[in-house]
């Protein structure tokens, strides 16, 4: 594929959120037709995109991980704790170490017990939520400057990371890191092989469990970064209970699916970003439209179904074209033969 085609494909992919934005703009021009709105749409896409990069490796290898939200919550808390004692470096290191440790626990249990990944992830999610709650409560009593008992406060000197342009710079750097890891590392390639056919992967000497464990670890680096940016963005991180943190992964998961649907056009890093921009446009759009919550959910659900159906529709259309071409060719052969 030459550079021109690549650039054209990227433009084509970005046309999806642009088209959605234009639809919203047509419906409510006075609400979303301003720079603040566009910046807001971009801001809304930052954290889910970084999270989606973390989710992608596991998803590609066939793992369904619902513990992501609880891991981000705990990593954010560890980041706040690190930031409280050791400043910015402490925050990043705290989040990274916690995220790696939690990923090792979930991945280790998965590899050791060999039970479905979503079962393991649900179990871990419940435990991690209780840990986040206990940690918030306990530290609320010991360190009120850090925890109120309901949420952790982000270090004041790190809040800039959640604001433009710094959050966009972080997103670009993380996207580049993701691109390198996703295209240049053995672990990411093996994850894709395992995800597409585990039996073939085994036959070529790949150990699926080891690969899947590696995807947890690989993804955790991005989840740690998502935790840091998310905490700086909101200035706080609250504990989650009753499996509430599970829904944190839904948006990134949707964008990973959109990214995969667009894999014929662009690289995953761009596809995922495009997916998140689409979701972000829709989120802003439905808020701006003032729709009630129930209608918002119907719209989001319908959009996901359409996006999931897109590759199937594309394949069906290609099949139809191929068949009609074959039929035409078949019909023209006897006619030509008759002429002879």
């Amino acid at each position: 594929m030459n550079m021109k085609t690549k650039a054209l494909n990227i433009v084509k992919a970005f046309m999806l959120p642009v088209a959605l934005y234009l639809v919203v703009l047509l419906l409510i021009p006075d609400r979303v037709g301003n720079l603040t709105s566009i910046i807001s749409i971009l801001i809304l896409a930052v954290v889910p995109t970084i999270t989606a990069y973390g989710v992608h490796f596991g998803f590609a290898s066939g793992i369904m991980d619902f513990s992501v939200g609880s891991r981000i919550t705990l990593a954010s808390m560890a980041g706040c704790l690190g930031g409280y004692y050791f400043g910015p470096v402490g925050m990043v290191l705290g989040a990274l170490l916690a995220s790696l440790a939690l990923a090792a626990i979930v991945g280790g249990l998965f590899a050791l017990l060999k039970i479905p990944s979503f079962v393991i992830s649900m179990g871990c999610l419940m435990v991690f939520e209780v840990v986040s709650e206990t940690l918030t409560k306990k530290l609320g009593a010991i360190l009120p400057a850090l925890s109120t008992g309901q949420y952790f406060k982000a270090p004041e000197n790190m809040l800039f990371l959640g604001k433009p342009p710094f959050n966009f710079i972080v997103l670009i750097l993380v996207a580049l890191l993701f691109e390198v890891i996703n295209t240049r590392t053995k672990a990411a390639n093996q994850a894709r092989v395992v995800g597409s056919d585990e039996l073939i992967a085994r036959n070529v000497g790949i150990k699926p469990m080891k690969v899947k464990f590696n995807t947890y670890i690989l993804g955790s680096v991005f989840l740690a970064l998502a935790a840091v940016v998310s905490t700086c963005y909101a200035s706080a991180v609250g504990y989650a209970s009753n499996m509430a943190s599970m829904s944190i992964v839904f948006k990134p998961m949707m964008s990973v699916i959109i990214g995969m649907s667009l894999s014929g056009l662009v690289r995953s890093s761009i596809g995922i970003l495009v997916g998140n921009l689409c979701l972000s446009v829709m989120f802003t759009g439905i808020i701006a439209l003032g729709w009630p919550d129930s209608l918002q959910n119907v719209f989001l659900g319908a959009f996901l179904v359409i996006i999931l159906a897109l590759p199937t529709i594309q394949r069906a259309m290609a099949d139809f074209k191929r068949r009609s071409a074959a039929r035409k060719a078949h019909e023209s052969v006897p006619a030509a033969a008759a002429k002879v």
Partner: protein, 388 residues
């Protein structure tokens, strides 16, 4: 292989034991029959009334409420049976009450996430001869209400006028802080109290001419709240008020909303009203800060009052009037000091809001009118004076 066989035998044995245990005679919830009753008083240890209350570890409100009920039970010589809430959904509440009944409680302070399982709960308590008091929930279905109120095991119901409180918050935001364009960060639809609050908000907006701009619900994290407020600001720059309908449902909701306002330098332009009192909220109150009015505290009171009514009922106080309704109310907090006092003297998980004698001075053994009057006149300043 041997290990597998041994394990399967062990498992089969455990299952068999479980089955046999389930077939065994069940303890009569109404207590021993005449033939089983010990003949002399000295044979029978004094049986305390067992009061079942649900708890939820980590939630300051539940812990403070449990602390208060514990001190009341200690004063009244009642045994408190605290059972961890299995989940905030219908099944979670039902399971909790089944557990309480299995533990042999005589009375239950009951609550429910929605109206759906109340009939089932009522039948459960009735069948097991357990007194129960519905706290913190108003029954809106007239048929269900009639059924529940006809049951001999039902002692009463207390609830806060959620609709009125929501109305009052919008009214205060409008009258005191000039709010004309309001955005809602709401609870998931289907929550009994959440739906009532929504009604109150809609009514207030209609009556006062406040424009309801948009709503967003079911938010789980602080960053989601920041996202929502960012989205609202970008689409509705005219927004001058935010109503957080359930401040405890999303931990850090206030911090998240405040951060979005800070990003746009709108902290002094937007007034936030909230139901539910959150820890650390004094940070966002005061001059130039967005949080203006918060209502809450009824959950503690609802449970405390329900416990007092059940204890009174056991002692025959107000029993002739059962089932009855007591209306509770929320406290309004509008300055940082009130917020600090609230956490210190009212909803303090480490210290009961009142002592043994004070319970007898205020709620235990009192008539319904006296109890209602106490509730109506309760303020943070009063809680502070009682706790000195």
């Amino acid at each position: 292989m041997k290990m597998k066989k041994m394990l399967s035998v062990l498992l089969a044995g455990t299952m068999l034991m479980g089955l046999l245990a389930a077939c065994g005679p069940r303890e009569d919830p109404k207590g021993p029959t005449d033939s089983q009753t010990p003949t002399t008083e000295s044979d029978q240890p004094e049986k305390k009334y067992r009061l079942g209350v649900m708890s939820y570890t980590g939630a300051a409100t539940f812990e403070a409420s449990a602390k208060a009920v514990q001190s009341m039970c200690d004063a009244a010589g009642v045994e408190l049976v605290t059972v961890q809430l299995s989940g905030f959904d219908d099944q979670g509440f039902l399971t909790t009450y089944e557990n309480m009944i299995n533990m042999g409680v005589d009375g239950v302070v009951c609550c429910s996430s929605s109206e759906g399982p109340i009939r089932l709960m009522a039948d459960l308590f009735e069948a097991n001869g357990v007194d129960w008091f519905l706290a913190n929930r108003q029954i809106s279905d007239p048929d269900l209400k009639e059924y529940v109120f006809s049951l001999p095991s039902f002692v009463g119901n207390d609830y806060c006028a959620e609709e009125d409180i929501a109305y009052e918050i919008v009214e205060r935001l409008h009258n005191d802080y000039g709010v004309k364009n309001l955005a809602i960060i709401g609870l998931t639809q289907g929550d009994l109290n959440g739906d009532l609050r929504d009604k109150g908000i809609a009514k207030a907006c209609e009556d006062l001419g406040v424009k309801l701009l948009t709503e967003t619900r079911g938010i789980v994290s602080a960053s989601d709240v920041t996202n929502a407020v960012e989205g609202i600001i970008s689409s509705y720059p005219e927004m001058d008020g935010i109503f957080i309908v359930g401040g405890l449902v999303t931990n850090g909701a206030l911090a998240g909303a405040n951060q979005a306002l800070a990003n746009h330098n709108m902290q002094d332009k937007v007034a936030i009203g909230m139901i539910d009192i959150a820890a650390g909220m004094d940070e966002y109150m005061g001059e130039g800060k967005p949080l203006k009015v918060v209502a809450g505290g009824n959950l503690v009171f609802d449970n405390v009052l329900a416990a007092a009514c059940l204890i009174n009922h056991k002692d025959g106080v107000n029993a002739d009037k059962a089932p009855y309704i007591i209306n509770t109310r929320m406290m309004f907090i509008e300055n940082p000091q009130d917020s600090v006092d609230y956490s210190e003297y009212y909803e303090n998980p480490n210290k009961a809001m009142m002592s043994g004698n004070q319970w007898y001075d205020t709620l235990l053994g009192k008539s319904l009118e006296e109890m209602q009057s106490f509730v109506d006149n309760f303020t943070i300043a009063y809680a502070k004076s009682m706790n000195q």
